[in-house]
Symmetry: C2
Subunit: 150 residues, 2 copies
DNA sequence: TATATTTACTTTCAATTTGAAAGTAATTTA
DNA sequence: TAAATTACTTTCAAATTGAAAGTAAATATA
């Protein structure tokens, strides 16, 4: 008889969030979808991050089960799977933004090869507007991919 | 001949931040220091999160080497070690805040035992003020612990 | 001053997770 | 109809995590 062991270590909301996104890949996959507009298994596989296919497969399954992402086909295509962020997943955007901003300030000295924000314009906007901009562009990209003739 | 393998997977600032804080414990330890004012090995060990001493020891060493925390003794005490956040570590505060806010909105349904913000007052403040409040109280607590006769 | 307690760990070992490499199956393109 | 593409799965070794017990130095107590 198998028991499902509790996903959450304790009652703390911060620790509970870490129970969901606290690993080497979940936030990276969210960032690849959100910022680099990776919508397919192949897109994510080919990213600079170099995730192994078994790991990606396993993470996507977990993220689906946690309702961070959903999976659909583009119209008239049964081969390609489109993964996209749910509202719950898209709401991780502020955390992705803050990680980017923190690295920009505190990691540059020890990681000289590190790049800046993807679009220059983002670094010029105030935080809230930058996050909105990222989210709106992401949604537009998903719409485009899910429209006819991808 | 040993080579130090690069800490960073790639040039992306988000992924680089995940290379630093993307595991099960680093953000939890920062949160325990910042919010619950855990300053010693014992304080952290006894937390609700239940971290094993070998894991805690290993994480603290890594965090010291990454300059996220420093280690000192209180005056007139050679036994107790006080760990506290550096500027670099304290600047993770916005991420901790955002994780807390995200859980509050998106995890409550699936994790009914989850508590709210530690101090009620924090949830009433706007984000920037809440973060400032948390950081100032943290700094005051460190000062107090490092003053005479702990 | 001697003993008990506390604090901060380390050691050992089993279990779980990660990741590299190769392989497979369905679908679509040429 | 054959080749290429996409989305995976399988296998196995290496690294990480974690539970349990143990140790050493410093401090508090009798």
């Amino acid at each position: 008889m198998e028991t499902i062991k509790n996903l959450f270590r304790c009652s703390c909301p911060v620790t509970s969030a870490v129970d969901i996104v606290g690993d080497r890949w979940t936030l990276v996959i969210i960032k690849l979808m959100l910022i680099q507009h990776c919508h397919t298994f192949k897109d994510i596989s080919e990213s600079e991050e170099g995730i192994a296919p078994n790991i990606l497969s396993s993470r996507l399954k977990t993220m689906l089960s946690l309702d961070l992402i959903t999976k659909t086909h583009p119209p008239n295509n049964k081969k390609v799977n489109i993964y996209h962020l749910t509202e719950k997943g898209l709401s991780i955007s502020p955390i992705v933004y803050d990680l980017m901003a923190w690295s920009d300030t505190y990691l540059r000295d020890e990681h000289t090869a590190m790049t800046s924000f993807d679009q220059q314009s983002i670094s010029l906007l105030p935080r809230e507007e930058a996050i909105d901009y990222i989210q709106e562009h992401y949604k537009a990209s998903v719409s485009s991919v899910l429209s006819d003739d991808y």
